[in-house]
Symmetry: D2
Subunit: 343 residues, 4 copies
Amino acid sequence: MSDSALPLVISAPEPRTLDLIFTPEALARFRARYRIVETSPEGVAALTHDVLAEARYIVGQPPIAPETLERMTALRCVFNVESNLINNMPYETLFSRGIHVVTTGMVFAEPVAELGLAMALNLARDIVDADLAFRQGKELWGGEGNRAARLLSGADVGIIGFGDLGRALNRLLSGFRTRTKVFDPWLPPSILIENGVEPASLDTVLSSSDFVFVVASVTSENQGFLGTKAFARMRKGAAFILLSRAGVVDFPALMDAVRSGHIVAASDVFPQEPLAQDHPVRTLPGFLRSAHRAGALDIAFKRMGDMVLEDMDLIDRGLPPMRSKRAERETVSRMRSKPVDKN
Amino acid sequence: MSDSALPLVISAPEPRTLDLIFTPEALARFRARYRIVETSPEGVAALTHDVLAEARYIVGQPPIAPETLERMTALRCVFNVESNLINNMPYETLFSRGIHVVTTGMVFAEPVAELGLAMALNLARDIVDADLAFRQGKELWGGEGNRAARLLSGADVGIIGFGDLGRALNRLLSGFRTRTKVFDPWLPPSILIENGVEPASLDTVLSSSDFVFVVASVTSENQGFLGTKAFARMRKGAAFILLSRAGVVDFPALMDAVRSGHIVAASDVFPQEPLAQDHPVRTLPGFLRSAHRAGALDIAFKRMGDMVLEDMDLIDRGLPPMRSKRAERETVSRMRSKPVDKN
Amino acid sequence: MSDSALPLVISAPEPRTLDLIFTPEALARFRARYRIVETSPEGVAALTHDVLAEARYIVGQPPIAPETLERMTALRCVFNVESNLINNMPYETLFSRGIHVVTTGMVFAEPVAELGLAMALNLARDIVDADLAFRQGKELWGGEGNRAARLLSGADVGIIGFGDLGRALNRLLSGFRTRTKVFDPWLPPSILIENGVEPASLDTVLSSSDFVFVVASVTSENQGFLGTKAFARMRKGAAFILLSRAGVVDFPALMDAVRSGHIVAASDVFPQEPLAQDHPVRTLPGFLRSAHRAGALDIAFKRMGDMVLEDMDLIDRGLPPMRSKRAERETVSRMRSKPVDKN
Amino acid sequence: MSDSALPLVISAPEPRTLDLIFTPEALARFRARYRIVETSPEGVAALTHDVLAEARYIVGQPPIAPETLERMTALRCVFNVESNLINNMPYETLFSRGIHVVTTGMVFAEPVAELGLAMALNLARDIVDADLAFRQGKELWGGEGNRAARLLSGADVGIIGFGDLGRALNRLLSGFRTRTKVFDPWLPPSILIENGVEPASLDTVLSSSDFVFVVASVTSENQGFLGTKAFARMRKGAAFILLSRAGVVDFPALMDAVRSGHIVAASDVFPQEPLAQDHPVRTLPGFLRSAHRAGALDIAFKRMGDMVLEDMDLIDRGLPPMRSKRAERETVSRMRSKPVDKN
């Protein structure tokens, strides 16, 4: 096949790079199968009419003006490898024309779920402070060091949000025989039941769990929905693990609930990132901190490229994409996460 | 039923206490169903002939002289709630007479497995030092903090020893889709295969795993069997998690392997406990420490009492005990763990 | 809420009925939440402009002319409870306007999978003819009656097609520790791997399986794709279980393969239904027959109503449907199953 | 190693044969590792003093007189490959001397469980009579043929007895999401809970199950314990599947319960085997028959040899057998199954 017969891809994956999201082998396959026009997000509008007219795919989330989109008559799918949906392209027109917009953020589900489980076990067994005490010669041996220790096995677990991350977490919990309740108003109860968890109200999840995992995205409606009242509803001594976005939580209220000794908490996300050097959460006892490291593993980024290739292969054969997650008309405008500015 | 018709139990559970191993409800049931003669381990020999002759059960691991045992004509089972088998009673005579000797140590399997999994995830994600850095305002954000991070999901896992603890660990791993190899010369390969793991030689487990969990008991034959050569066989950067007994490891060699950067490690057990204040493991980077806290949770001790009651009920009905673990003629003399002196 | 404020539903579920697809309780809820205009499929075009303009949902698969659709300005979703997609409405316009077309056929996955598993076990153990022999006093006892018997546990299993039905079957197989290979060109390999099965070519599935389950839909491209060559590739004595549509198989070739003794087979579907009285498959030894009974259980039909209610609730709240299966632009025109004429 | 240095095995496996229980490869390994003295069960007593003195193992269940046993000073284990424990050797002396008596009957658990599951599905979907009707041109199509059809998925299941067979059955059910209750008075409730089933009384199991599987062995205490009252307690239309021994059931009462239409039933075992030609169960509608074929698969017999080799290997290394099932002092005298007279 002459190169010019290959399908054309506009590549503008910033802030990712092709080297970040593809293994060398996958990148070689990508380059062998497609004509790739690499540009910056801002450069898309300036591409030639020929390039725009021939482009079958976009990799990235560049701003697309309606008139640019009009010229892209062969476009079939936008692969948003950043994963937050910015309001910088005419989604309605894309949907109306049957052009898929897909995100690859599900690659983060497994690494985030692993860190979330690790955080829960750390809170349950006080691993960080026990190691610090050991370094300082102040460790307590055996049962004496376990006054507040408890098991995750058999515990009451609550999960808020049951997208890819909630499901990954639920899978990791499968060996722990937990009783798991889930609050997710975007899903019908029967899907939760099929996944072996119990659908529950937010209040029930908060008030009847030993461990509460928050994996819900921020939307235009749920900003700060977990505040003072929510934490007060939690069981004394329960653990609160925040994995998705700081925006869903009233952070000062969370800190108060931990400071008072009512709950313990762990978080991978913070109201400002990086966080001010003098932010009080830095030294708050009963709080385990992680600097937005839950998902950003190299292996996760590399899986993005695999997803892109698998879905391009399906679309090339006239089939719909099945691997990435499709943006939905109904919810695209509700998603309000800030875009990432670092990988 | 008049009290004197109840079966008689000699209770000498030191270093445990009845309050440690029974919940209040279970203890009430225990006292309602049995006549309980409480004594110290040393006091057993001094009990009256009547008490010895009527005793159906012993709870504890008191020294029993052959002539004392001869008087215990109704004895059916010794419930060793300490769990290490000390050579202080005539096991051969007990076995020959069909008196069961059972241990309740399996209650520790679940809590130890949870801590072991937590340790593995901590090593994989460097959670302790990341939290310390955060406290000090030196944290690295996102991918920058994940240079050495990796997943347990999909990893090659090795387990050395597949008793109750190895099985509990394997169960916790069930959601991680690991490829798990097990070395346990005391088990036929087919039992390992039935448990979904791959039987392997010690060398294969060491050399082809990203995470190696050591859960084997110390025996007269395997003291210090994991030394310099074993650690050298491990993959560069692999994690070694020691959960059973320090005696199976050449501890200085383990520290050398960590110090050199070849592997990272975590341990719940140490050559001396408590450990000298100036022991170099206290500050060794790449080593996660826990002061023999893995199993000693109150909930685990309480399950011992439940096990004792369930097995007494079976034996009372003429059935063999099924809940506790029976000591075996072949292996009782091989077990060489030091008895615990604290709970 | 006054009745006229309730969302309007046009109900034309023929050949189903509301009583078939709703339990009495679900139907009561349906009637309480919606204004329901019941009509025949042909009656839709004759509905008043007001009804058309207000209709939010259609239950059924009535013919819809473009000009009728134009009047349905509030339409949000067509609930096709028949499940085969007939080319009787302007799908492109529906998709372009963002109106969902969903099917509820996944309710059949579980009952069909159960019958499929039962058929496989029947073929493996020759249950029908053994019972017949027993009735006639000709049974063979013990091992003598098991000359050709084999296990499903641990067997090589092949599945052709991995939609809802393939997944339901795979779930039922989870206790059997089979090695399962799947051929499904519409899915990326990684999704198969995540489901614990091995992606494979059609030839590999056929030639390396002890049991082959066919659960693929008929499309415009795969009619009769399993013929003489396919059966010849199968292992001697293997079992072929046809569960989806007779159209994917060259039926005479299948019968030949069974007649020759090369394979055994079972089928729930036939080239004509009902089948001619003198059709040779009726008495073909080595062939297990079921008269399209696999899915048509009352409990399955009743679940359709539950699905409809759950998805209406989501759409009413501005969310996309999650429970039913959405028709896809890319594949709607490829589906070529004959509509059912009986439930 | 000279042949005379090999451990000596007395082989008297009747009614099995070495060719039945060993694959050719396993038999070659057996012969290479051991000196095998083959004899009939009755011939054991007549073996030379040297052979008796040197024998480490017996394969089979020959009668052993106390004086013969006294000469067998090196005996370590009797491998009873018939699996029912006949009272033809001094078990107390064996146990007292620490000689293991093990059975290999667990090889039948998997094939019997598969047939049991198949029977349940056959009763739920009426597969046999539907195929017969199809042969005769009288089949009912679709829902019309499913008037009494139901699902196993999600059903209430009861299991009576939870030995190897009950556990194998429970494993096969794992994909069916059943609510499973178990009655087994020989096991502590916590072991049932650990296996994911609910401990229950016999009455609860009978009265609250859609499918009741009987997998309990006959003992001196439970002969015919399932009679008229038991069947009357069952749910109308429930299915009763008998897999272990006919002796636990009052067979005429079972037939009455089926004849009256109260329940449906399947059985692999019968009061007399072979059964009289005019026995009324042969033509009883609602009853599915299997001529004691559930376990007797060649692959099951061959696994016996593998078990024997694995356990001999452990015992040769000074370890206890772990693969086969040990006879217990407490229960050996309670087992009352008739020995098999055919394989």
